[in-house]
């Protein structure tokens, strides 16, 4: 065993997986993207949270501010309440003291002494009992009593003189003084009033007070005391009022704080809701988009499938039609197959429509879902706001209820205080009155006192009425404030609520619209169902009819067999009128039945046949139309070609004319043109006001023109020299002029002849007969002139006559351009041949003349060179014309061929169409025949 085998070994290897790395990278990228998205989402959430926190902080700050304001107001209110309390206490103490003093003042001296003794005993008892508060109270009371007693004594001393006489009055004076003293002790400030009291008292005493005077003095004292008390009451009332106002302000502040807080909270809630709504809507839109995409793909797929099915069905139908027309299968089988194919296609289309409906419904449901979610969110918010507003109003109502209650309570307390004070005054007055009555019976004084009492009562009543009015006023104010609060709350919530209401209304309207659309869709669905039901019923009826037909078919045989016997029987039997009527009735019923059957089956086939016939007729008509169009197009082409030919002919003629000029003429014309140009340039140069550039250009042109003129002169000279040299070699100089004249005359005559021929041709084409006649006469003249010149009688005239004939033929057969062209060509050929012959003759004549030149110096000799050139030109023109003619002939032949083909095709199409129509008609007739047979069979059946 090898050593390695003894060891237990574990191998470790590492490899790097790149593909895995890519996948991991992709995963990491995905994770990173997801993380980014999550981070963004988190940030968004954070931002929203931060916004919410900020909003809440704002709310809290507002809350704090309002709380601080409320605290301040509360403190103010508390201070005012404290002041009010102190003032009330003071008023109560003053009232108490006054009452006590009035009690004391009512007491006699002995009673005062007894009171003092009682107080002293009570003080001792209190001191013994150690009750310090009671002791102090009793001490104060004792001091007051003592003071009253001293004042009484003082008053007694002052009225000592009257005392003996009017002891009873003195007692009253004492009481008055006690009242005065009390007033002085309480008020202190009204020293002048007090002094006046004393003065009046002194005067009264001095004058010897009568009962009236004393009564007046007492009443004045009481008046002062009451005034003071009333002032105190007013101060207390003012303080109370201030306290109440402060309380009301506090309440108002608290209310405002609460409302602001609620508004802020509502704002936050509304924002949140809007956010939620936006989220819902976004999500809904995204889902809708996704659904739309999916549905779009589905639709595309379905449409493609349907289209494929349609194509296949069409192909199968076409194949079916082919097979049927080839009579591989029967008409019925083809119809059944066609029906099956169409049914399949229809079913597929219906299925697709149903699927589309389902998709629409799905989309609608999704939309509705989103809208419902939005509406729910908004509804929730609105409910919340409504509830909150209700709470707010209740809260405000409660707060103001409390305020009102407090106000009313304080008013009642005030009222009670006033009434009790008045009653106390009244009691005092009554007692005084009774005392007065007991003491003296002065009617005036009594009446006055009674009047005073009544006045006091009236005042009390007035005060009560005033309080009631104030109460009403307060109530009114309270109501107004409550209204204000309601308006405030309403206005505050109105905007938000209005927006929400509007949104909700929109939502509801949309929901209603959606509902409507759904209802409509449901109605459509129901209609479709009903339609399907109807079609099913119709199918059922059709099946029944088919069954009936089959039954009839079966019975038809039996009927046919029995028909002969029945016919015999029928002939034997004499049918009565009633029977006939009954039969007619039944026949009408059956006719209806058959009309029904026919209606069910025949119209479709008839329609199909009619359509087929119509389409075939239309096809035939279209083929004819096409043939006509083709024909007209070809004709147009021929016309154009002819026009082109005419143009070519004209151009050829022009060049022929140009070439027919002599060199001298050409030179002369060129020279004339150059000289004219030179003259014009000279004149231009002479004109004043030309700039240097134009001058230079003119000079250049002039130099060029001069150069050309010089060149032309040289060429002319060279040509002339050459010609002269040639002529000099041919004949003596003396004959040259005459020969030249002769040749020129002949040339001119020929040219004029040709021109006239062309003119006559044009006129013949135009139909200008008179002009043509004139031209022909001229041609004849030129021909005879040529004959005269050449000495060859009859040739040129013959030629002219032929041309005339041709032209007349052209004039007569204006429509046959082709023939005219041919004739012209022939004529031209002949003319060319004639010209050639004439040229040859002329050449011969020239040669003869040359030969005889010496012997006959006066005779004219033809220009050989000119004649040769003319001949050459005529030959060329002839060749061109022959080519043109050949081309034209080919074009015309091809056109004729095409036209024949087109006509043939049209004829075939028309024949096919007619055949189709005939077959359709025969098919229709066959149908009708079948039906009539069926009808006859049914009638036989009826008779049976």
């Amino acid at each position: 065993m090898a050593k390695n085998d003894k060891d237990l070994k574990i191998g470790i290897s590492t490899e790097y997986d790149g593909s895995g790395a890519q996948a991991a990278l992709a995963d990491a990228e995905k994770v990173k993207q997801a993380n980014t998205a999550a981070a963004a989402a988190t940030q968004e959430v954070g931002r929203q949270a931060a916004e919410e926190v900020a909003a809440r902080q704002k709310v809290a700050e507002a809350h704090e501010q309002q709380a601080a304001a409320a605290t301040q107001a509360a403190e103010k209110s508390a201070a005012a309440q404290r002041r009010a309390k102190v003032a009330t206490e003071e008023a109560a103490a003053a009232e108490e003291k006054l009452k006590r003093q009035m009690e004391l003042a009512k007491k006699s001296r002995n009673e005062l002494i007894r009171e003092l003794e009682r107080l002293a005993a009570a003080r001792k008892a209190a001191a013994a009992a150690g009750n310090t508060a009671e002791f102090e109270r009793l001490t104060a009371q004792s001091a007051e009593t003592r003071e009253a007693f001293e004042k009484l004594n003082q008053g007694l001393e002052l009225t000592n003189i009257q005392f003996m006489q009017q002891a009873q009055m003195g007692m009253q004076v004492g009481q008055t003084l006690a009242g005065i003293g009390a007033a002085a002790a309480q008020g202190g400030g009204n020293v002048a009033g007090l002094a006046a009291q004393f003065l009046s008292l002194g005067a009264a005493i001095k004058a010897g007070l009568g009962p009236f005077g004393w009564a007046m003095a007492i009443l004045q004292g009481l008046q002062m005391a009451w005034d003071y008390f009333t002032q105190k009451q007013e101060r207390a009332a003012a303080a109370m009022k201030e306290a109440r106002e402060a309380q009301a302000a506090l309440n108002k502040t608290l209310l405002e704080a609460a409302q602001t807080t609620r508004a802020a909270v509502l704002e936050v809630q509304r924002d949140t809701t809007e956010q939620e709504v936006a989220d819902i809507e976004r999500a809904g839109a995204a889902r809708l988009r996704a659904l739309d995409e999916v549905q779009q793909r589905e639709r595309q797929f379905a449409a493609a499938r349907l289209e494929r099915l349609r194509t296949e069905t069409q192909a199968q139908l076409a194949a079916l039609e082919t097979r049927r027309s080839a009579e591989l299968i029967t008409q019925e089988a083809a119809a059944a197959e066609s029906e099956r194919l169409q049914r399949e296609l229809r079913e597929a289309e219906e299925a697709e429509a149903a699927a589309d409906d389902a998709r629409q419904r799905k989309r609608l449901a999704l939309e509705r879902e989103t809208n419902a979610a939005v509406a729910a969110a908004r509804q929730e918010m609105l409910d919340k706001m409504r509830a909150d507003m209700g709470n707010l109003l209740t809260h405000e109502w409660n707060d103001f209820d409390k305020v009102k209650y407090e106000e009313l309570t304080s008013k009642v307390a005030q009222l009670k205080g006033i009434i009790s004070a008045e009653q106390a005054v009244l009691e005092a007055v009554n007692k005084q009155l009774e005392a007065e009555k007991a003491g003296a019976d002065n009617a005036d004084v009594l009446a006055d006192l009674r009047r005073r009492r009544e006045q006091a009562q009236t005042e009390i009543a007035e005060a009560q009425a005033g309080i009631a009015r104030a109460d009403e006023e307060a109530e009114f104010i309270f109501r107004g404030m409550l209204d204000d609060v309601r308006k405030l709350a309403k206005a505050r919530n109105l905007t938000g609520m209005a927006a929400l209401e509007l949104a909700l209304q929109t939502q509801e309207a949309y929901a209603a619209e959606t509902k409507k659309a759904e209802d409509a869709a449901a109605a459509v669905e129901a209609g479709k169902r009903a339609e399907a039901e109807l079609s099913r019923t119709a199918d059922l009826r059709k099946q029944q009819n088919e069954a009936l037909e089959a039954g009839l078919e079966v019975e038809k045989q039996a009927v046919t067999e029995a028909a002969a016997a029945l016919q015999k029987k029928k002939e034997e039997e004499e049918a009565t009128q009633r029977k006939k009527e009954a039969e007619a009735e039944r026949a009408a019923q059956l006719a209806e039945l058959w009309a029904d059957v026919q209606r069910k089956s025949l119209p479709e086939q008839q329609q199909w046949l009619e359509q087929t016939v119509n389409s075939l007729a239309a096809g035939s008509e279209a083929a004819k139309q096409w043939a006509r169009e083709l024909e007209s197009v070809k004709l147009r082409q021929v016309q154009e070609e002819l026009n082109g030919l005419a143009t070519v002919y004209k151009v050829t003629g022009h060049y022929a004319a140009r070439d027919s000029r002599t060199q001298e003429e050409i030179y002369a014309a060129d020279r004339a043109a150059l000289e004219a140009r030179h003259t014009a340039l000279e004149q231009l140069r002479q004109q004043p006001g030309l700039d240097a550039r134009t001058q230079q250009q003119i000079n250049e042109k002039l130099a060029e023109t001069r150069g050309q003129l010089a060149g032309l002169e040289e060429a002319m000279a060279a040509s002339s020299a050459a010609a002269q040299q040639m002529l000099a070699g041919l004949r003596p100089l003396g004959q040259q002029a005459k020969q030249s004249n002769w040749a020129h005359a002949l040339k001119r005559s020929e040219q004029a002849f040709l021109n006239m021929a062309k003119l006559a041709e044009r006129q013949a084409k135009k139909g200008d007969t008179a002009g043509m006649e004139r031209s022909l006469a001229a041609m004849k003249r030129y021909a005879s002139q040529q004959e005269r010149l050449t000495g060859h009688t009859g040739r040129a005239v013959k030629q002219a006559q032929e041309v005339e004939r041709n032209l007349r033929a052209v004039a007569q057969q204006g429509d046959g351009q082709e023939k005219a062209q041919k004739r012209q060509t022939r004529a031209a050929n002949r003319a060319a041949a004639a010209s050639e012959k004439a040229a040859r003759a002329t050449e011969k004549a020239a040669r003869d003349a040359e030969a005889d030149g010496k012997n006959q110096p006066g005779a004219a000799a033809p220009d050989v060179a000119g004649l040769t050139a003319q001949l050459e030109a005529a030959r060329q023109a002839l060749a061109t014309q022959q080519q043109e003619v050949a081309r034209l002939r080919g074009a015309v032949e091809s056109l004729a061929k095409v036209t024949a083909e087109v006509a043939n095709a049209a004829r075939q199409t028309a024949a096919a169409a007619a055949e189709g129509a005939r077959s359709a008609q025969s098919a229709l007739a066959g149908q009708k025949r079948e039906l009539s047979e069926l009808r006859r069979a049914v009638e036989l059946l009826k008779k049976l």
Partner: protein, 185 residues
């Protein structure tokens, strides 16, 4: 040889490392962790001496295909894989003849107790005898069973000689991860 393969799925080789270099580092670290684990495992197997020696014999080495953790101690492989042990035929120190049988010391054999070989006991050929397939000797006048003589000894495979495969894989993973973290792969 057991083989473990570590596949690193990462963004690529850091440019400061040569290609293949970080694989070496990974192998080294993984092998060290595995060595520590196997050592601990063998020590924990108990026994008086054998497994401790085996634990000390755990070694690591790097080669061109990676790293190898080997336990260079006789019998460990046999324990792990199982198999048949036959005499090698080498010349016996005791008899001077080729060894034909295996001597398997019993529980109370002085060979086992003293962990020595036969010749180290100072016994020669005459001092030992064979009785009923057992090698006996008189030591101090007392017959003592040295061991059973066998033509061959068959061992069943014992997979617990090594830690469980998942434990080893975990150790390798830990080592590789440490390196990769350092390399920031």
């Amino acid at each position: 040889m057991l083989n473990f393969k570590i596949t690193v799925i990462g963004g690529g080789t850091p440019c400061k490392w040569r290609a293949g270099m970080y694989e070496q580092e990974v192998n080294k670290a993984a092998a060290n962790h595995l060595r520590a684990l196997i050592k601990q495992h063998l020590e924990a197997r108990g026994g008086r001496k054998y497994w401790k020696e085996a634990a000390d014999a755990v070694e690591t080495a790097l080669n061109e295909s990676g790293a190898v953790v080997s336990i260079n101690h006789p019998g460990v492989r046999l324990h792990f894989y199982g198999g048949t042990v036959k005499p090698t035929g080498r010349i016996s120190n005791v008899t001077g003849k080729p060894i034909k049988r295996l001597l398997i010391p019993g529980e109370n054999s002085p060979l086992r107790k003293a962990n020595v070989e036969l010749y180290e006991l100072g016994l020669d050929r005459d001092a030992v005898r064979i009785e009923e397939g057992k090698l006996m000797a008189d030591i101090g006048g007392v017959p003592v069973e040295l061991g059973i003589l066998a033509k061959k000894a068959e061992h069943n495979p014992d997979p617990t000689v090594l830690p469980k495969p998942e434990q080893m894989a975990e150790a390798l993973h830990t080592g590789a991860r440490e390196v990769l973290e350092i390399l920031n792969l």
